[in-house]
């Protein structure tokens, strides 16, 4: 206890220097924690947007479909959605049929992706469909209603309520056409999607392609992205009797988004590393200055009978106290910053009027943080360790002096 008291008092010998060092470490912890939490929130929001409009947190495909996108690789869905929706943590299981097709009007024709969906179920999850009015939604699964991308609408030179024809390859190899009517317009903000997407009822899509009772994808939406490890084995159990069917998580189903997040976070980690490196240099500087100023005193302490190890231990104890205070203060500031970023957020709309697209996913222009308490604690402990590590050299230097050298020091 006396050693702690001595270390504490030594720390405050040069009050200004200690405060500046504390402020630098604390500010760094706050920055790292707040920006990590902001990224954590933004990534979660992106994953959420991505899975809701895309493949879900977990998706079920016919083996090989994910890599080839061969529309012949469909699987019988039967009562699988209902079975999967019984699993705790699962919100919805959405059957989808994907068909490459040709959309034609009297003036233009375009290659499109036709997606057959369960309109009511899909609307509960898909954020773009939630923005549509009831009058713009597909009424029935077998109706001829279609929701098409805004750019595609312009390119086909048609208006809501007007008819157009889609032609797709039937399962038997022949070409089949269907007359559809524009019911709603979707604007995701992504050029590729808005110029190629057509949503129709799943039964109509099945009739067009011959995939009656089959789907290409069963997109499973969970209550939280972090439940996938828990739910995944449960889904696998229920697929035992479904040969040639595989379940994949969103990272496999949407590699673009997963890789974009990984790349973005890797660059952030690099910035965090630089921040922590600067902290380390700051601590080494502070501890070294503190040691150099006290060489004479260390000489006296050694002369009185202290061992070099005990003296080095005192320096490390000072660093440990410095690190602990900084970790507490920095985490407090980190909590404040995270609280602000989680409740108010950063609105990018004023800076970027265009839609924000990242990894093939459109997300909210208001960036909000999400609490990652475990990581915050981890970084605080890491900085404490770093502070002690940074004091190793000064501690060794102090322990290596002889009493005579120390006492001669002026």
């Amino acid at each position: 206890m006396e050693k702690v008291s001595l270390a504490w008092r030594n720390l405050w010998r040069n009050r200004r220097r200690t405060i500046i060092t504390l402020a630098a470490i604390s500010f760094s912890i706050m920055l790292v924690q707040a920006f990590h939490n902001l990224s954590f929130g933004v990534y979660e929001s992106m994953v959420d947007s991505g899975v809701r409009a895309g493949s879900g947190h977990i998706a079920i495909y016919h083996t090989g479909y994910l890599n080839t996108r061969d529309e012949t690789l469909s699987f019988p869905v039967a009562s699988l959605p209902e079975v999967i929706e019984q699993i705790p943590g699962v919100v919805q299981a959405l059957p989808r049929i994907y068909l490459p097709a040709l959309a034609q009007t009297s003036r233009e024709s375009r290659g499109v992706v036709l997606i057959g969906v369960e309109p009511k179920k899909e609307r509960l999850t898909n954020p773009f469909l939630q923005n549509l009015s009831d009058q713009s939604m597909i009424r029935k699964s077998n109706s001829r209603d279609a929701i098409i991308g805004q750019r595609l609408l312009q390119e086909l030179q048609i208006k809501p309520g007007q008819k157009f024809v889609v032609t797709a390859q039937h399962r038997d190899g022949s070409l089949h056409s269907e007359l559809l009517r524009v019911r709603g317009i979707i604007n995701t903000g992504m050029k590729d999607i808005d110029s190629s997407l057509i949503l129709i009822g799943s039964q109509r899509a099945a009739m067009l392609s011959g995939h009656i009772g089959n789907v290409h994808e069963l997109a499973i939406v969970l209550k939280s992205a972090w439940l996938d490890r828990q739910v995944f084995p449960e889904i696998a159990k229920r697929l035992v009797n479904h040969p040639n069917v595989e379940a994949v998580n969103w990272e496999q189903a949407m590699p673009n988004l997963a890789n974009a997040i990984k790349l973005d976070y890797a660059s952030q980690k690099f910035i965090f590393l630089i921040i922590l490196l600067i902290v380390t240099i700051g601590v080494i500087n502070t501890m070294l200055m503190s040691v150099m100023e006290r060489m004479r005193e260390f000489g006296v302490i050694l002369a009185l009978g202290s061992t070099p190890v005990k003296l080095g231990g005192l320096i490390l104890l000072e660093a440990l106290i410095l690190g602990c205070i900084a970790a507490l203060l920095g985490s407090f500031l980190g909590c404040l910053a995270t609280w602000y970023l989680a409740t108010v957020g950063i609105d990018l709309e004023t800076f970027m009027p265009e839609t924000l697209e990242f990894g093939g996913v459109v997300f909210d222009t208001v960036l909000r943080a999400n609490w990652d308490i475990a990581w915050m604690a981890q970084i605080a402990i890491y900085v404490i360790g770093l502070t002690v590590f940074a004091a190793l050299y000064p501690a060794v230097k102090a322990g290596r002096i002889s009493p005579m050298e120390g006492m001669r020091h002026t």
Binding site: L6, R296, V300, I301, A303, L304, G305, P308, M407
Partner: protein, 235 residues
Amino acid sequence: MGQISFMSLIELHNITKIYRVGSQKVVALKNLSLVFERGDFAVLAGPSGSGKTTALNMIGGLDRPTSGQVLVNDLDLGKANLKRLADFRLHNIGFIFQSYNLIPVLTAAENAEFTLMLQKTPRHQRRERVLSLFADLGISGLEDRLPKDLSGGQQQRVAIARAIAANPRVILADEPTANLDSNTAEDLLSLMRQLNNSHGTTFVFSSHDDKVIRRAKRIIRLEDGLMVSDNSQNL
């Protein structure tokens, strides 16, 4: 390690110490041989650069001789490792420095307790011992003051309290009165003599002040690293 018994002597055999200053060699001690008996009250006298401090440092195990042997009850200080030397100093030697060298962040009492703390003496025992010493040294009431709030004489008394708190067998004092006015210096010498008489503590101190030198029982004169005389006197 327990206390070394100074039944017989501190022995310096043909001690030579050479320092390197840049490319030059400075001979601080030349073939110095000395023996100190238990209860000695000896002064190493001589002008600046005569080797007084170097000799004290050799006895205290703070420095190693270039050649020769320092034996303290058969412990060869020149050959002992750093840990053994630290232990030796902690349990056997008390130091009083010219410029007091109190630890600025510790109070007077905590400074005096420092060696006891290193010896892991229980806190209440340490405090009891220090309060008693402060009373003996006439600095009661100053326990909670920081060194910066004490006069030179008071600081030196705290340094003496620190040196004797652990009851060392030998107290080494390097120019202990150099920074004190003559009255305070006189009081301090009386105090050292009193401790020497009452506890049998061996004092070896250095000085170039004749007034101080005259108060020693034994006067060892050094010049240019050589011993020129070693006389005892009755006081």
